[in-house]
Subunit: 300 residues, 3 copies
Amino acid sequence: MPVSLYASPPGVLFPRGSPQEWGQAARQPPGLLPAQCRAFSNNKILVELDTSSGVATMKFKSPPVNSLSLDFLTEFCISLEKLENDRACRGLIITSAVPRVFSSGLDINEMCGKSREHYAEFWRAVQEMWIRLYSSNMVTVAAINGSSPAGGCLIALTCDYRIMVENPKYIIGLNEAQLGIVAPFWFKDTFVKAVGHRVAERSLQLGLLHSVPEAHRIGLVDEVVPEEKLQEKAAAVVAQWLALPDHARQLTKSMMRKAVLDHMLAHREEDIQNFVNFISKDSIQKSLSMYMEMLKKKKS
Amino acid sequence: MPVSLYASPPGVLFPRGSPQEWGQAARQPPGLLPAQCRAFSNNKILVELDTSSGVATMKFKSPPVNSLSLDFLTEFCISLEKLENDRACRGLIITSAVPRVFSSGLDINEMCGKSREHYAEFWRAVQEMWIRLYSSNMVTVAAINGSSPAGGCLIALTCDYRIMVENPKYIIGLNEAQLGIVAPFWFKDTFVKAVGHRVAERSLQLGLLHSVPEAHRIGLVDEVVPEEKLQEKAAAVVAQWLALPDHARQLTKSMMRKAVLDHMLAHREEDIQNFVNFISKDSIQKSLSMYMEMLKKKKS
Amino acid sequence: MPVSLYASPPGVLFPRGSPQEWGQAARQPPGLLPAQCRAFSNNKILVELDTSSGVATMKFKSPPVNSLSLDFLTEFCISLEKLENDRACRGLIITSAVPRVFSSGLDINEMCGKSREHYAEFWRAVQEMWIRLYSSNMVTVAAINGSSPAGGCLIALTCDYRIMVENPKYIIGLNEAQLGIVAPFWFKDTFVKAVGHRVAERSLQLGLLHSVPEAHRIGLVDEVVPEEKLQEKAAAVVAQWLALPDHARQLTKSMMRKAVLDHMLAHREEDIQNFVNFISKDSIQKSLSMYMEMLKKKKS
């Protein structure tokens, strides 16, 4: 199937559903002058929109490690939908307010000792997060100011551009195999599009967590900067991308991402069933429990 | 679908139609000894065939910037068909006779203030140019001796090999997004096959025009040489490729390019309709007019 | 079609048929303690399994150049099946016992002056070798201690990891075009997955045989070591891969390789017919005969 480049109305990259449980988007009434800066915050994510530049910053503030729990993902999707529907917002920087970690990835608590219904609900939220971010009309930049394994790495990969802080302690990668689980096909597709098939095959099989210079070398991140330059750099990159006419940039983004998105959407329910069946297995539950025990011991 | 490697008769990469309006190909009568060098020229392209080496050179000579007008494209396709059907010709070097520019890409005059029928005819000619060059049985080398944005970059990408002159003023890339338009899917596919998905995604969204060293680094051109070495180098590269048995080289080329070609051919009419609908929009017409005004002011 | 990640039972990457003519696999009876080291050898391949590490080494010993004859391929598949079904074996190193050559590729004798039935049988064995190795549950490392053109290169590409000895005389690549033949689509797919489309297009059309540093630079081999370090390095790499949980690593491998495998399996019979038709042509038989004459003269 071809990419219907010219047919799509400008500004609509992707038909966005708006599940009722996520509430109504805060569309700015057209007649009101927006304040210079707007902010909204729930429990786990702080969002600030600079209406003069049209750039929002989303800060993960869910200590200790910004785990992607069901609550976190729901809040993420609501925030994203609000910004997407706000005409004053054209760009988004995603970063962390927690020291040394961008996001540690999916919350293992959501995958351990729960019901099949819960696993299904959780997995649908993980998918929804990816679908909305991958197809966002906004320019999206990941300002990665800490370690970013597994689902944390996925969020970064799903943005348009990745800037990481140079720090010998930070790591990034899809390390699912290390935990005895397997990255789903759309994690894999997103990864392959960034680093190519060969690098992805080895990295995923070994569950590698790459150092910052290595991540840069293989193309997993686009740019590396000192911590104090991160905000400035991220703002400059968003400004560069926003200099393009919105509709041309958005249609181009849609064209580049259509195959991977369509493939995922066509198999979304099947993917949920596969996840639920896999994660419910005794052997998988057992290895996840052991992993969590290990984490707890490490902490204490 | 598999590539029917072994089944294809050697020397036939692609079923070439020969539209009557493009006239008859000048096939050399088998009994006549060819002259050492043959040349033919129309208004916009000069073609010289060295029958001793079997290599033709096509020189774009349509000042000021070798725009790809409907006339230019028609002449290009006729010339290509003549060479393709000439048994004395096995290789082709494409270069420019206009200083500092290889080709500036599609002629915006053909896309502005014309009828839907005209847009359709023009787009079909753009497609035809790509189809014939991408599936050519000849070894094709782009000797890029000047800037090469948009459609100019596409011609280079469609060849088997790209050599560019090192000059800090020359640029190359698919910059459509800068003009508020979108590269069609087969421009994108050709680009992705050369530089990979990640580099293409960023470059197309930003409509980047790359410097020569950068184009070399990302694989958009294969080799960089000083101006005075270009002809010699291009001849050496064609000779290297012609050292292979024709049918094996041609079948291999066909195998490598089949998926992208088939995808385009299956959606050719749809692509024309999409282009006509898109380019006919008031908003697009307006931004193209503004762009042309800007170019005119620049000149004067 | 999606990759049914979660649904596959751990440890089963691929439904392995076991053609009767290849005999019964030597599954270790569960109650017996295996000896520290087991070896079996037929005429052309020596296999040693170190049961303490779970790593087998397969040494090609078919002088002068480890040609992939029908007998060699049959023995290769039997050995592979034995190891695959041996629970004591989790990793495989493939190397050569013949000086200066890893494998020279398909035996041209099997493709020259034989019956159509023979060509079909031979080609099915080539396919079987690739299918089994590409979908192996074991960690597979090619320890390339000599030149490795054509089918020899394919064996290396089909492993999980490639280490090559640094030696200015060694070369590696898919040079089929040099012989006037064409690499089949699944050789091409395996190659493209390692080095990317652009590098593959040029390398296959020119039938390039790359030096070791060049092969390393384009990603055709993963690592280069001095001859005396090869065994040690291969063992270290296998150990690194075996540190991962088997089922997660195997499911990840399956996910990465599924598209290429499925495509080949869907067109396997067609590919055999294409090969038989192609290789039976007078022109191809003639050029293969000439090539063999040339080889014979070179030797004497």
